[in-house]
Structures are given as C-alpha cells and as structure tokens.
Symmetry: none
Subunit: 199 residues, 4 copies
DNA sequence: GATGAATGAGATTTCATTCAT
DNA sequence: TATGAATGAAATCTCATTCAT
C-alpha cells in the first residue's frame, strides 16, 4: 500500500486551481459551481474533495496563487528598471486584460472586505509587492531619480492602489482610447516621484 | 376607486432598495438572498415582486441609486473649490467607509465586467462625475492652478480611477495609518496637476 | 342604498367568462393565471372575486357556458336537416379551429376524468346534444334514411364521440389535407347509418 | 474507477417515468409537482435532476414512452387479424381504462395543441400506428375484406381518431353500458370498411 | 362597486457536499 | 485513487386569495 505521491498530489491541486481560475474568471466566485470546475478539470466531484475540503478553500488557494503570480510578474518587471518604467510597464501589460481578470480581482477585493481570511491573504501578497516597490523607490532615491522627501513605504502603497484603480478606467469609460490615459498615467507617476526641480 | 398612490409606491421602492443595500453590503450580490431582503424590508417575498420584477432589477436599481448618490455627493464637494481640495475632501470623506460600502463598490465593478447592463449603468454615472471634474479642471486651468497642457477629459477619468483605487489601500494594508497616505495622495494630485514651475 | 343590479351583474360575469375563455384557450387551465384573466377582463383581482368565489368556479362556469354554446350551435345546424348533413356540417365548421379551442376541449375532458364536478357538467351537456341527435335519428328512421335496426341512443353517443375524436386528426397528422378526411368521414357516417341495401 | 452503469441508469429513468405517469394520471401535467414525483419515486428532488434536466423533459419522455407502448400494444393485436377484429380488440382492451389513463391522454392532446415539441412526439407515434393500420388495410383490400376504393392512409388516420374519440364515450355518458356501444362501434367499422355488397 | 397592497404557500431548479463502491 | 449516486437546504419566482380603503 503506497503512500500519496506528493508530486502528483501538488500537480493535481494546481490543475484544479487553474480550472477554477478559468471558471471563476468567466462567472465570478458564485456564478462558478463546483460542477463547472470539475468539468473544466476533468475530474469527478467526489475526487475533487480529496484535494480541497470546500469550495471556499479552493477560492482561497486560487486567490493565493493568483496574487502570488501577480507579485512575481511585478517582481520580474521591477528588476533593474527605474520605478517609473517598472510601473508603467506593469500597467501596460495588464491593460489589455479582457476584463475577466479584472472582474476576478474585484471579486477578490469585495470578498476581502467581508471575509477576514481573504483579507489576510490579500494583505500578505500586498506586503510582498510593497516590499519590491520600496526597494525600487529606495534605489531611485539614492540615484536622485526619486524625491527623497517621500516616504517609500507610503508611496509604495499608494502606487499599488493606483494600479488597482487603473483597472476601472475602461470599465467606467469604455470609449476612452487606452493610449491616451496610458500617457496621462505616466505623467502622473513621473511628476509624483520626481525630485523638485531644484534650480 | 382609488388609483395607485405614486408617492407611497416610490417610498416602498426606496425602502426596498435601502434594505437591499444593507443586505448586499453585508453579503455581496449573490450572498444576499431575496428572503434576506424581504426580512430586512419587513415584507413578504410575494409582495416585493410587485415593486421589482426580479432580483436583477433590484440590483440594477440599487446600483443606479448608489452611484447617483456618489455622484451627487461629489458634486456637492466640488462646488466652488479647487480641484485639489475637492478631490482630497472627497477621498477623506469616503475613507472611513466601513468596508461594507467598498465591498459593494467592488461587487459592482466585478459585475459590470460581466454584465453589459451593469456596465451601462456604471458608464452613465461615471460620465456625470467626469463632467463635473472636467468643469472643475477647466476652471482650474483658467485660473492657472492646473497645468494647461493636460487634457481635462483624460485627466478627469484618471482621477476618478485614482479615487477607486484608493479604496483598496486599507484593504491591502490594514496597518497603514490613514493620515499618512491621505497626505501622500494630496501630494500626488497636487504635483500631477500643478503647472510646471518654470517661468 | 341600492341593491345589486342583476342585469349588470350577469353582464360582468359573462365578460369575465369570455376573458377567461380567451386566456384558457391560449394557455390552458393552469397556464392562465387569475391576473391574466383580470388583465384581459380589465378589472382588478379583488373585484373579480365579487363575481366568482374561486378560480375553479370560473373554470366550471366557463366550461358550462362553452359546452352550452357548442350544444346550441349543434342544435341550429340540426334543424330540419338530415343526420348526415347535420353532422358533416358540424364537423366541417369546427374543423378549421385554430387548435386552441381543441386544446381547451381536451383540457376539459382531462379535467372531467379527475374532477367529479366537471364530469357532471360534461355529462349534462352531452345529454342535451345526445337528445338532439336522437331526435334527428328517429326522424331519419321514420323517413327510411336511417337504418331502423340501430338504437338511436347508442348511435347518438357514438356519433358525438366520433366528432370528439375528429379533433385529434390534424393534431396527430399535421400534413394530412383536411378535405381528404372530411370526405372519408362523410362516407363513414353515411355507410354507418344507411339502411341495408335491401334488394 | 467505475464508469456509469448504463443499465442501472436506465432502470432509474424508467422508475421515474413510471412514478411520473402515476402522478400525472392523478393530477394532470400541472397538478403533479416535482415533489410529488420524487415522493412517488422515493428519491430526493436534487437526485431526480441527475436523470432529467427539467420537468418538461420528464413529461416529454413519459409521453414518448406512453405513446410508444400504446403503439406496441396495438401492433400486437394487429398481428394476423382482420382490421375489424384488431380495432375492436384494441377498443375493448382500452375501454376499461380507469379514466386516469384517458385523462393523461387528453392532457397530451391539449399540450400538443400548444407545445410544438409535444406535437412532434405525438405525430411521430401516430405515424407508426398509422403505418401498422395501413398495412392491415392493404392486406384486407387484397383479401377483398376491405373496400378497394378507400384510401388506406386516410382511412387509417380516421380510424385512429375514432379510437381517440371512443375515450370520451364513458366520460360523456357515464350510465351507458359498455357492451352496447362496443357493438355499435363494431357495426360502424364493419359497414365503413366492407366492400359494397353489389356484385 | 372597485382597487391594488399584501400574504404565504408552493413550484422548479441548483448546488455544495457526502458516501458506498 | 476515483467515481457518480444521493441528499437536502436554499434560491428565485408565481399565484390564488384576502383585506383595508
């Protein structure tokens, strides 16, 4: 009688989470049913419960994975660039999101506002992203690219929430051309961070 | 042979919408059931359907009312002030939101990303707020308080989404002191809008 | 304080029954709701209950009226004609029925099979029609147009059920041309009733 | 890793259809609720939906099964007999129907007049019965038992509707002795089909 | 006479979850 | 490990009927 193969086990879990992400992206947390996820993951309902104890656990794990990935992606763009470029690159990358991903993100925020567990997960990953940004900002300050009077911790938080907010732009204003506000955002960040034109 | 009393009718509708807002705030669009709303509004399920033909109609009307109120509130703060003050006042006012309201807002965004009707409602009210801001910005430009090279329409959209994003700040960062990022936001907006110092 | 005007009262009742007949014809006994009938009769739900104590009472009264009318119509065609012509005329008249009326008739039969009250109503009107036919058959027998060995009572019943059955013809066989089976029915009846070709 | 056992599956489906037939027979299509059927089939409501996607699907399948059985039964009596005997046997067999079955049949006709899907099902099975009868009639014509001038297709349709109509006989005339109209029906069919006596 | 507000039971359907195999 | 049969609660919505005005 063999024991569980932990590699296969984790693989399955990941497959389920990916299926869940697709379903939740299409229909939201409550619109997507366990059956949908099972169909998408090509497994039976009973079996799925060997890997996750409840639907909520799936949602949690998926959010966890999703936010982790987002942080990682941000970490990659952040390497060695200036803050401005890193942020703008990140914004532009997530801009052409088909709206599904954005909806899922908002589902997460809504849930986090009601569910302490989700709030903790969100907070954890936000902290990671924040740390990355703080690093970037500090380096910028050393290179005199970023205003030294700004508190890196606070600014990092504000910048992340700025990115969050940018996701409502097309939602609120479907007819606005993406490149126009892209430019405006770049200006905004640039002016915010630049050291005062000491002359 | 009394006809329907339209005043009472509208009153009831409003009472239902208020009950719905409370329930949706607590549990989200899908977590709040018709029965919950009925209990909260103290009426039978059957009767509620005399006022709204479906749950979706309730959600729509409630979003409509909510966004309208938000736009109105913003309109009030916007009167006669500078853009900067108006925005910061607005941000500060909505900051101590108990999280419930914010969750509802995110539910709306999530829903708008999937449901065209909601998208239309959101877009309609966003347009109103944008118009107010554009006005404010134009006046600011005339008074040389706002950089003339900025396109008011685009900037207005960006500022609104900035406000949206600010709602994730406490969610992502529960331990951050509100006043610190309040200040940072003020700096951000101020630097973004101010005309270049070069003379 | 005047008493009820019995004329107006009956008029209203009839109006309701007519509205009900239209609704039931469209949607069947259970598909048509009291609200539908009220809308069709242009009156409020509460008021309708001044004229009928329940939905079932409406159905009963309507079936009563419907069957009475059918019997009367048959009585008219039956005057002074031969049995054969009377029956065929009746069949042809009800042939181009748009199916709605036929459906209502089948609803009545189905209901009569389950509800003793309906069964009694059906039986009562059937008796009237049967009496008319018996009369016709007797006269036919006197004139040697109808086989004298046939029992008029039994034959009348059989002929009525033959007419009932004819209503399923187009339902079962949508592509059959009406005139072809019309002719066949005429032959059938004619051969059934004719006295044996005594030679 | 067992797959669905298709035998058990079909068995359950059949059990449900039988329970449904009993309920529908008692209360009609709309009077019988899913809960009633579940109780009768001794299963939970949720589980029933594993076998049928909707109430309508159950009705359809049940009608299908019912009509098929009717056609089969008719097919059995039809083997090797004369048309006359086959029909009369069939009539007599279905005569002592407890009224429940007849009601169900009328429900089906009523429904078919309003619901195209039901109309199609009815038409399909009618076609089968008609084909059987046409065969019988053709053989009868070859043996000179049936009038050669009659069109078998049309006559078959007329005879089937005659059988349909016979179901209203006891309903309309509860006090009529079955054997008397049985005899009359035999005479009717016999005279209708027989070749003209003229030699 | 006439209205429509109000009720509450009940209908169909979905869904997360458990369990025997 | 894996299946899918099975459950039962709950959700949305409809409808006949009553009642205050």
């Amino acid at each position: 009688m063999r024991k569980v193969d932990p590699v296969k086990y984790e693989e399955k879990r990941r497959a389920i989470l990916e299926a869940a992400a697709r379903c939740f992206g299409r229909n939201g947390f409550h619109g997507a049913s366990i059956s949908h996820i099972c169909a998408e993951a090509e497994m039976s309902a009973g079996h799925l419960y060997h890997y996750f104890p409840s639907k909520e656990a799936i949602i949690e794990a998926m959010i966890d994975a999703n936010l982790e990935r987002a942080a990682n992606r941000f970490g990659e763009t952040a390497k060695g660039e200036s803050v401005l470029d890193a942020l703008v690159t990140h914004l532009e990358r997530s801009a052409p999101d088909d709206g599904r991903r954005a909806s899922l993100l908002f589902d997460m925020f809504a849930e986090a506002g009601r569910n302490p567990t989700m709030a903790r997960i969100l907070s954890k990953h936000s902290h990671e992203m924040q740390a990355l940004l703080v690093d970037l900002l500090r380096r910028g300050q050393e290179r005199e690219e970023v205003d030294r009077s700004l508190d890196p911790e606070v600014v990092a938080s504000v910048l992340i929430s700025l990115v969050d907010g940018s996701k409502t732009l097309t939602l609120r204003n479907p007819h606005l051309a993406p490149h126009s506000y892209g430019e405006a955002l770049r200006t905004l960040i640039s002016r915010f961070l630049s050291p005062p034109a000491s002359k």
